[in-house]
């Protein structure tokens, strides 16, 4: 069985490692195994305006999505979990429902809807769209962490006379911080890699990196895509690392 699992992980990780290897090739074309070792394709990435601009847009968008997602998601998650709300289950299902929608349908529908509203193709539209699909991840993560924390702390604070805001700020918030960070991380990852939705909102100012990479890949097949992918991966890994350092990976998994 161990052999099977090892083969499985070779299957799973192989293509990724191959791309990393390709990104360092010296050759003009895609070569695997890569010939030589050079950073030329990484240089190429930074020279190609479309890549750099869209990368910046992607990162900005990811941050904005995370912030908006947390702003909208955390209070709702907390309230649904412990607010003695009627139909809590149904509300939670509703909050998580964007998870089940085919992204391409979402992108298409949102494009026309937001255009009708006058927002059209803009950073704001992208932000709204990305927030809609990231929201469930934030809600689920925060609710999961919150569920695992005993209500005693908050109730004690209430008994001792703290008002709602004080309880939230001094008791609840510090305890759910890992969940919030994890939720932000998820939102950022979802946003940065998203293609189906970002694709519909593509324009000179609002192209995200995946969209640019896709159109590049459709016309040209060279190692710069490998380099671009690796840069994206590095950013994601750094994000994960930061959260792990601060809170540890365990704290991020929702208590079941």
């Amino acid at each position: 069985m161990l052999l099977y699992v090892v083969l499985f992980f070779i299957f799973l990780l192989g293509p990724i490692l191959i791309v990393v290897a390709i990104s360092f090739t010296e050759t003009e074309y895609v070569a695997f195994p890569p010939k030589g070792f050079s950073l030329r394709w990484y240089e190429r990435f930074f020279e190609y305006d479309a890549f750099v601009d869209s990368f910046i847009v992607s990162v900005e968008l990811a941050f904005a999505t995370a912030v908006l997602g947390v702003g909208l998601g955390v209070p709702a998650a907390l309230a649904v979990t412990r607010g003695n709300v009627p139909f809590a289950n149904s509300i939670m299902t509703f909050l998580l429902s964007p998870l089940s929608m085919p992204l391409i349908v979402m992108g298409f529908a949102l494009l026309f809807y937001l255009s009708a509203l006058g927002l059209g193709v803009s950073f704001l539209s992208l932000l709204i769209a990305h927030t809609v699909i990231s929201l469930p991840y934030v809600v689920r993560t925060v609710a999961g962490v919150y569920r695992g924390i005993s209500p005693d702390f908050e109730e004690s604070a209430a008994v001792l006379g703290a008002n709602r805001f004080q309880i939230f700020w001094n008791v609840t918030l510090p305890m759910i911080k890992p969940g919030i960070f994890a939720g932000m991380l998820f939102a950022m990852l979802i946003s940065i890699d998203n293609l189906p939705i970002s694709f519909f909102f593509g324009s000179a100012d609002t192209n995200t990196l995946p969209v640019v990479m896709l159109s590049y890949l459709e016309h040209q097949f060279d190692p710069s895509i490998a380099a671009a992918s690796c840069i994206q991966l590095i950013v994601a890994v750094i994000g994960l690392f930061i959260v792990e350092r601060i809170y540890g990976l365990d704290a991020m998994t929702p208590a079941s």
Binding site: G14, I18, I22, P196
Partner: protein, 290 residues
């Protein structure tokens, strides 16, 4: 784990329930309404180009053999990919829960790591692997399984592999989380009573894990259903599905009405799947794993 306790009078949590209204409103305005809008096709952009009633397009989708084939292929592909994920992923889930011990953290990390990579990166990797002179063909030629290189990139097989590659971690994690909660004593009792390993698995473990398979099935099916990047870059045009067609309608044909009709059909498939989920799988609600 929420404890069953009598709520102290009046305490309704650290956050006012009214916050739900804010988020709910956001979702209604930017999630529900766009979909409804698309369903009813009442917006201007489509009307500007509106030349035919929407029923024309739905008729095309349901009665033209070419499009019927595409709808069927979309569902068939999603089901196929999901089944393959179950078959490949179940042993891994088993390993993760029962045999990995100290290494379980590493295994989970290795499962999640690919999710950090862009789908383009993974698809690119498969394109290189499946190329005429790529590793897969090299290996098959070397092992005498093939006489000459097979154009994987022109066939559905590369897309299926690509999709399974992306989605199998979800399946493994779903099954694993349910497997984890199975009481080992049940299996031990079966063994003590004389059942063989295989019988124990088939009669005790597997039925208890069906919930995990079900959850995994829904997740993977929905994701496979909506994917078009993998099919765009790997399927080579041999396999056409609804998402791919929507993409092409949008970029090449610019027939937005047709794209809208197709997206509604795709949505219907997704909703159908969710309905099945409601009927067949016991959901635990807010208090359990969502």
């Amino acid at each position: 784990m929420a404890k069953n306790r009598v709520k102290s009078g009046g305490f309704t949590g650290a956050v006012s329930p009214w916050w739900i209204a804010l988020t709910g409103l956001f979702l209604v305005v930017f999630f529900v309404l766009p979909i409804v809008n698309n369903l009813l096709n009442t917006n201007d952009l489509a009307t500007l180009a509106k030349q035919r009633p929407m029923s024309f397009y739905y008729h095309k989708l349901f009665f033209d053999p070419y499009y019927i084939r595409i709808v069927f292929d979309t569902v068939a592909l999603s089901v196929g990919v999901t089944v393959i994920c179950i078959i490949i992923g179940y042993p891994v889930a088993m390993f993760l829960v029962r045999h990995s011990g100290r290494w379980s953290g590493l295994v989970i990390f290795l499962l999640i790591a690919p999710l950090l990579t862009s789908i383009i990166m993974r698809t690119f990797g498969w394109r290189v692997l499946f190329a005429r002179r790529g590793l897969v063909n090299d290996f098959l030629l070397w092992a005498d399984i093939l006489d000459k290189p097979f154009m994987f990139l022109n066939s559905a097989s590369s897309a299926v592999v690509g999709l399974v590659h992306v989605l199998v971690p979800f399946m493994v994690l779903s099954i694993a989380s349910v497997l984890r909660s199975i009481d080992l004593q049940l299996e031990e009792s079966a063994r003590i009573l004389g059942a063989s390993r295989i019988k124990t698995f088939l009669r005790v473990t597997f039925p208890l894990s069906l919930d995990g398979i079900g959850t995994g099935f829904i997740i993977v099916f929905l994701l496979a259903n909506g994917s078009f990047v993998t099919l765009l870059l790997l399927g080579g045009g041999d396999l056409k599905t609804l998402p791919l067609l929507i993409y092409q309608q949008f970029t090449i044909s610019r027939d937005f009405q047709f794209a809208a009709a197709m997206s509604n059909v795709l949505l219907a498939i997704a909703v159908g799947c969710l309905y099945l989920q409601l009927r067949l799988i016991r959901r635990k609600g807010v208090k359990g794993a969502a």
